[in-house]
């Protein structure tokens, strides 16, 4: 392969084709930069870090949401590379889409450490003690670069703009799984809704397209499981509930691992 054609869907809905020389190691972003610098300065796309960590260059490449900077042209196996804006999002210009609704969902799930005593939380003279295995419980979900690929891939988001979406649920779960956090109740109230975790129908496309292996689908399932557990516990707490004598096996066993959400130790 020594030449390629970039076929880019523009704001007006028409496709523009650009012929380029192929170089070894060329990414789709390299190709788009070459188009803007050598052929068409009006082509609009976002990019910044070139190394898959800033989350700017999400777009639909050969029918899949991907990061342009870490998609090798050679890996697509075709001489014509089809590039479109992320599906399911409002197009502002060419490959630039409006990510504000997506960001609003992230903010909505309270993505920060919540503690009952905020003054105590904000002090800077000592750290909470957290064990490596406890960090492991939430670290994977903290890899999210907010590129919106999962949001664009989600068939449920496409049908229901009020659905929280895989990114936001993943981030809610990230903080729920953090042993330093005490905001469990508040976030459950946000997620335990028809348009929260229960709206997901487990297509799994979010995890398939995630460029950082965050696995939002897993986060949704984990959040569901924890919410169910919590419901059982809440109902049991009510006097006279028929669930009082039901399923003791659901309670965490004593003396094994620490329960995931009941950890309030502090440093010395």
């Amino acid at each position: 392969m020594d030449k390629i054609t970039m076929e880019v869907v523009r704001s007006d809905g028409n496709k523009t084709r650009y012929d380029l020389k192929f170089r070894k190691g060329m990414t789709v972003l390299d190709a788009l930069i070459e188009v803007r610098e050598k052929q068409d300065p009006t082509l609009a796309y976002r990019h910044s870090c070139r190394m898959g960590i800033c989350g700017s260059c999400g777009m639909n490449i050969q029918g899949m949401p991907r990061l342009a900077c870490q998609t090798q042209v050679s890996s697509l196996g075709k001489e014509t590379v089809r590039v479109e804006p992320l599906h399911g999002m409002h197009v502002i210009k060419d490959l630039v889409v409006d990510i504000d609704p997506f960001l609003a969902m992230h903010t909505f799930v309270k993505p920060y450490l919540i503690r009952q005593d905020l003054k105590e939380r904000d002090r800077s003279d000592r750290e909470y003690r957290v064990l490596s295995e406890e960090v492991e419980r939430f670290l994977q979900f903290d890899y999210c670069i907010m590129c919106a690929l999962c949001y664009s891939a989600c068939p449920t988001v496409a049908l229901d703009p009020y659905y929280l979406g895989p990114q936001a649920i993943g981030q809610a779960y990230r903080y729920m799984a953090d042993p330093r956090d005490e905001g469990w109740e508040q976030r459950v109230d946000l997620l335990d809704e028809a348009q929260g975790v229960w709206r997901c129908h487990v297509a799994g496309s979010c995890s398939l397209v995630c460029p950082k292996d965050v696995d939002p689908a897993k986060a949704v399932q984990m959040a569901r499981m924890e919410i169910l557990k919590k419901r059982v516990l809440r109902k049991r707490a009510k006097a006279g509930s028929p669930l009082v004598s039901v399923a003791p096996a659901a309670a965490p066993k004593q003396g094994t691992k620490a329960p995931p959400f009941d950890f309030r130790r502090e440093g010395t």
Partner: protein, 582 residues
């Protein structure tokens, strides 16, 4: 007509320094009674700080042997004695609090077996004090701060808004002009206080570790407003930039035990720095690599034509690489198809960090050429020059600087605002209309324009890579100055090919390149002037440090016909300069 928007505080730039300043302003009294705007030419969480990898320096456990004195000494020695020592001292005393503050806000620091925060060795530090979260430290710090800001309402975000000028009258900041890319508007953001936190100018070079957005905008804003810029000839070339693009392979890779090998398989650092080896400061390691290559002991990449040496991690083993350096593995595999568990990584020095910048005092207040404060204007992070890094920054001190000064600036602004009565809205300065005319009548409607901005930019980067790289000498630097001046001439006829308003990246590229050319001239001319070798500035024709003539900061101011230079003394309060050996 220009849309005028009023705020108390405008933060320009949303990297670590900008977000930390915002967090300080908002977490104090939950931002009550304060109108804050955070402006970025990117979306807020996209800034280049996310690319910081290895660690953030802080003395966390003095009871185990580290000390503030040691951190200060390492930093000052690393700076080749150009750092201002009283500022370094203040800086190192505040670093530990920042690590713990972020921890309390959710930062996923890697941990010691007992649950305390873990630290790793880093170049030039004589103690393991690089606080880390895997090898994505900057990314996690950015996420923590961005998420923290979501806790507070009542602040305004101006994303994808490109600031084009500062409006300063009678030594006082009054506002800044900006292009709102998303709505295609030209706006005037009027405020009582402004923080410039837009990062460095790594994009002046072609082989660079920095994001495409790191074009020195903020330094250019100050320079174009007639304020001085300091020590711009000191650019840090990070030893391990991935061939062929220059993206960063963290120093943490050597901190975890990685070796540098030449084409004969030798650990060549033995020749140059036998005691610290691969963990010498970056300027030392970069010079060593370039010497090996110059003396024929490098490799050559046929596709890019670049020469390189190897970073060998194979002996660390899969488990350590996967747990401590997963991002390095991901980058190597995705960008060059190399698994560091199996093969060495090809690297060479890459443009990384701008030691110079806008001169500020210890509270981050911007200073004019007489070292007087500009009222209402602050700068923090890589944009600013305190100077705590002098001629060479130590690894893991930059993210620390962003956090410490972001916070100091936030505090100082709160004190500043409360000491002042809110003024009644003033008339809009003439400068705003002039700036609008410069862009929308001058640049966009220049019918005779035929120069291609991308050709100019490409040429600039070639010149900088060729003559203003790790080693420099008179002829090359003089050539570079001449070439940059020619490019500036050509730029007068630059063409804006996109006539649109929404997301006109072509116009943004033109505005950025205009600034880059001015800064490149300051860098090249400053490097030509400085007839000594110190830290990141290494002259083949003047290989020695010359304290008698050059133990001083360079200041450059914009004037007709090019920058005008003056000098400022270095504040030496703790240690007299000695020979720097590792």
């Amino acid at each position: 007509m220009v849309e005028v928007i009023d705020h108390d505080v405008v933060i320009v730039g949303s990297g670590l320094a900008g977000l930390r300043a915002a967090a300080e302003l908002l977490s104090t009294n939950r931002g009550e009674g304060l109108s804050l705007a955070v402006v970025s030419k990117l979306a807020l969480m996209r800034s280049h700080s996310v690319a910081a990898e290895g660690g953030t320096a802080a003395v966390l456990y003095p009871e185990e042997g580290d000390s503030l004195e040691l951190h200060a000494w390492d930093t000052i020695k690393g700076s080749d004695f150009l750092a201002d020592q009283d500022s370094v001292w203040k800086f190192v005393t505040l670093c530990p609090e920042e690590m713990r503050q972020l921890e309390r806000w959710g930062m996923p620091w890697s941990r010691k077996p007992d649950g305390r925060i873990a630290q790793r060795p880093f170049g030039g530090h004589s103690y393991d004090r690089a606080t880390f979260a895997q090898d994505k430290v900057g990314f996690f710090e950015m996420r923590t701060l961005y998420d923290k800001l979501q806790e507070y309402g009542g602040w305004a975000r101006y994303e994808e808004t490109f600031v084009t000028s500062l409006v300063i009258g009678d030594g006082m900041f009054t506002g800044c002009t900006a292009i709102d890319m998303k709505h295609g508007k030209f706006v005037y953001l009027r405020a009582r206080a402004c923080v410039i936190a837009t990062g460095g100018a790594g994009q002046l070079w072609k082989f660079t570790a920095t994001s495409v957005s790191t074009t020195g905008d903020g330094i250019g804003l100050a320079y174009r407003a007639g304020l001085p810029v300091e020590d711009m000839e000191f650019m840090q070339f990070h030893p391990t930039g991935l061939i062929p693009t220059g993206i960063l392979i963290t120093e943490g890779a050597r901190g975890e035990g990685g070796h540098l090998l030449n084409s004969k398989g030798e650990r060549f650092m033995e020749r140059y720095a036998p005691s610290k080896m691969e963990l010498s400061p970056r300027d030392v390691v970069s010079r060593s690599i370039m010497k090996e290559i110059a003396e024929g002991r490098g490799f050559k990449d046929e596709d890019s034509g670049l020469s390189y040496v190897s970073l060998d991690l194979r002996h660390l083993g899969r488990e350590k690489i996967d747990s401590k350096l997963p991002f390095i593995k991901e980058l190597s595999m995705k960008f060059v198809g190399i698994d560091p568990v199996e093969d060495p990584i090809p690297i060479k020095p890459t443009a990384h960090y701008t030691m110079g910048g806008i001169p500020v005092n210890d509270s981050g207040r911007v200073l004019d050429e007489n070292m007087r404060e500009v009222k209402g204007l602050w700068a923090a992070g890589e944009t600013a020059c305190v100077s705590i890094h002098g001629a060479n920054r130590l690894g893991s001190n930059s993210t620390a600087e962003c956090l410490v000064y972001g916070r100091l600036v936030g505090r100082d602004i709160l004190a500043f605002l409360s000491s002042q009565a809110a003024g009644s809205p003033e008339t809009v300065s003439q400068d705003v209309a002039k700036e609008e005319a410069r862009i929308f009548d001058g640049l966009m409607k220049n019918e005779k324009a035929d120069e291609d901005v991308y050709a100019i930019k490409a040429r600039l980067k070639e010149v900088m890579d060729r003559s203003v790289y790790v080693f420099r000498e008179r002829a090359g630097l003089a050539d570079a100055v001449r070439e940059v001046r020619d490019l500036k001439e050509r730029f007068k006829g630059v063409r804006v090919a996109d006539g649109g308003r929404l997301f006109n990246y072509n116009l943004q590229d033109v505005l950025e390149v205009g600034v880059m050319l001015e800064l490149a001239e300051v860098v090249a001319q400053g490097a030509l002037n400085r007839t000594e070798s110190r830290g990141g500035h290494s002259r083949l024709d003047f290989p020695q440090r010359d304290d008698a003539s050059w133990l001083k900061h360079t200041l450059a101011r914009r004037a007709e016909g090019g920058p005008q230079f003056s000098f400022a003394p270095v504040r030496i309060t703790m240690w007299k300069p000695v020979e720097r050996k590792y």
